[in-house]
Symmetry: C2
């Protein structure tokens, strides 16, 4: 195996696949990156027990030669050392592997020798059935992940709740995340011939958003027995699926609403953020909301030892009962408000011990639900 | 005590004095910032056992009113909460303290109440004798700190070595730092009527460089019994001095030099940085230098388990013995090379077991000395 590659291009690919490589693996070979030199491209693979990232480097990028392959083959090299070496080499990189997996890397007058692993011992990738597919523009995929993944459970006690439940029906996708105290739901029309629900680890989805953030165009999604695969032109992320049954959420949405108010999204976000200053003494970051004579909402929190904070904001519209007092976990409200792009939101209350429904005005494709907390 | 202050200006001052406030102090009052409202200015003070930072906010800055004092007085407020509150308030800040040290902070429709401390319990500042002074442009002070402070000892076993020894003689300053394996020396002509040597904690000097980084103009230095004070127009840093006798370094400078070579500073820095990749297996980051036939220097390191790296660089000039092999702690060499601004350096060797002298070409005001390490 022997090739010469543009430094910058190699560096970027290594840093992308490195995101899947765990330094704390019991299997030394998994701390490495698998490099496969084909006649017309170089493939880099990094993996851990949850995700696999595969990157393809073609011979030319935007008409510029970035890669010349002299001899095909494959090897696995320590991700940590490969990445540090390549970052520090000044020029094009000439990489060559001998039959004993000893790797020689040259650049200008610098010679590095590093022991590689036999690539045959590296685990193989899951097989993809390309007949069943889903197509989704990358910016929309990123958006739905950002609008839901934050709401998953941080605790491993119910593993299904640590993932986002992605349900595909003919040309329709619905994503749900909940930790049983709050819930985020987002729906989207897509191009798909897949039917079924899959629980995808939120950690994999967060990694995916970073990876495809600069990739315009369409992401293809494939599902295998225990993996979901996200594929752009040059990069693929395989994620393990979480096994188990996701709870049915249709019964959770409130139907007996007593008070519905309209507020400015950003102003409310900043007010709740301030109120959280003194809420940390409480287990649930208790922030209190109170409607005053139907025109204003009072936001306050207090800490017996430090002090208290309060402010009032204008209610833009109100329907129903004008008398309400409720305590919420301020950090949950902040998380939900941060992912709402619309300028105005509707808060719907069923009473001080019922979940609050948060929806953007003029957009019915997503909603958030937050359970109240006891204020004593 | 009552005043109205520009939000941004108050925020900046709080963040500056907060740098001296330790969150982990056994005295609750020291976790606070002392605020003194005088008729014509506001003074903020933060301190811990090593340093005190004092900031003065005048009534106007660049002709713009930033402060109105309605009632003079003083109070101490938790640095953590004050800083978080002020950051999150949208407009000018109206601060008022009642006789029970209860602080009320208002901004727009937001009201915060926070319990303050009695400012009389806050420790008082050391007295300054303004007759004995030192004047130094802030950019030069920052430079000499950067060129020496990195070389102090990280270990507390000999406390004097954790400081930079600043020796003042009539209009002359010399700064020395050493951890007994390496030494950095910088000399400078200054305006001063002080004679004496003072050991200043490197941590205080590093804090000082951040504080005066955006302060053009001259820094005045005063020395009290156990403090050194650095004063710009609006900000002062008081640092505790380290007691004890600093070692005499005049005997350390080598006089029997066998080989003197000239190299490109930046190229050597990058080469040593690369060689350090495989040096971490060694206790001292062993990097080996070897002069080859008087024209090139070979830089290499190896790790039995991972691999090896080597490169050669051109020697620009050589004097004396053309045969030399030496092992150094690569990280020490990197630290020294990073603070040399000149394009070329002179390395002077007294043999493979003698300290290496590193000096910039055409600048005799500073030097570095590094002891070799055993390579087996």
């Amino acid at each position: 195996m022997e090739f010469i590659i543009n430094n910058e291009c190699f560096n970027k690919a290594i840093s992308e696949v490195s995101k899947a490589v765990s330094l704390k693996t019991p299997f030394p070979i998994l701390s490495g990156i698998k490099i496969i030199a084909n006649k017309n491209c170089l493939i880099l693979v990094g993996s851990n027990s949850d995700i696999v990232i595969e990157k393809v480097i073609p011979l030319t990028i935007d008409g510029i030669n970035v890669l010349e392959v002299y001899d095909t083959g494959s090897v696995v090299i320590s991700a940590k050392y490969l990445s540090e070496i390549v970052k520090k080499l000044p020029d094009n990189i000439h990489l060559k592997v001998n039959e004993n997996h000893l790797v020689s890397i040259k650049s200008d007058e610098i010679v590095v020798n590093i022991y590689g692993f036999n690539s045959e011992e590296y685990p193989s990738l899951p097989q993809i059935d390309e007949a069943k597919y889903i197509k989704i523009p990358s910016f929309e995929l990123i958006e739905i992940i950002k609008q839901t993944a934050f709401a998953v459970s941080k605790s491993e006690s119910r593993p299904v709740l640590t993932g986002v439940n992605m349900s595909f029906k003919e040309n329709h996708l619905s994503c749900v995340a909940t930790d049983s105290h709050r819930l985020a739901l987002r729906e989207l029309a897509i191009e798909s011939n897949v039917n079924g629900s899959f629980i995808v680890p939120s950690t994999s989805l967060n990694e995916l958003t970073k990876l495809i953030n600069n990739e315009p165009g369409v992401i293809h999604i494939f599902v295998t027995d225990s993996y979901m695969v996200f594929k752009s032109n040059t990069i693929s992320l395989y994620t393990r699926l979480i096994e188990g049954n996701y709870p049915n959420i249709s019964g959770l949405l409130p139907n007996n609403l007593k008070t519905i108010i309209t507020l400015d999204t950003n102003q409310l976000l900043r007010g709740i953020d301030r109120a959280c200053l003194f809420a940390s003494e409480w287990k649930n970051n208790n922030v209190h909301l109170e409607i005053k004579d139907g025109t204003k909402i009072r936001i306050f929190s207090n800490s017996s030892e430090i002090g208290k904070i309060e402010e009032t904001q204008k209610i833009k519209a109100i329907n129903g009962d004008t008398d309400l007092s409720i305590s919420l976990d301020g950090s949950f409200l902040i998380d939900a408000l941060k992912v709402i792009k619309e300028e105005e939101i509707r808060l719907s209350f069923g009473g001080s011990m019922r979940p609050v429904l948060i929806e953007p005005i003029d957009n019915s494709s997503y909603l958030h639900l937050i359970s109240p907390v006891r204020s004593y």
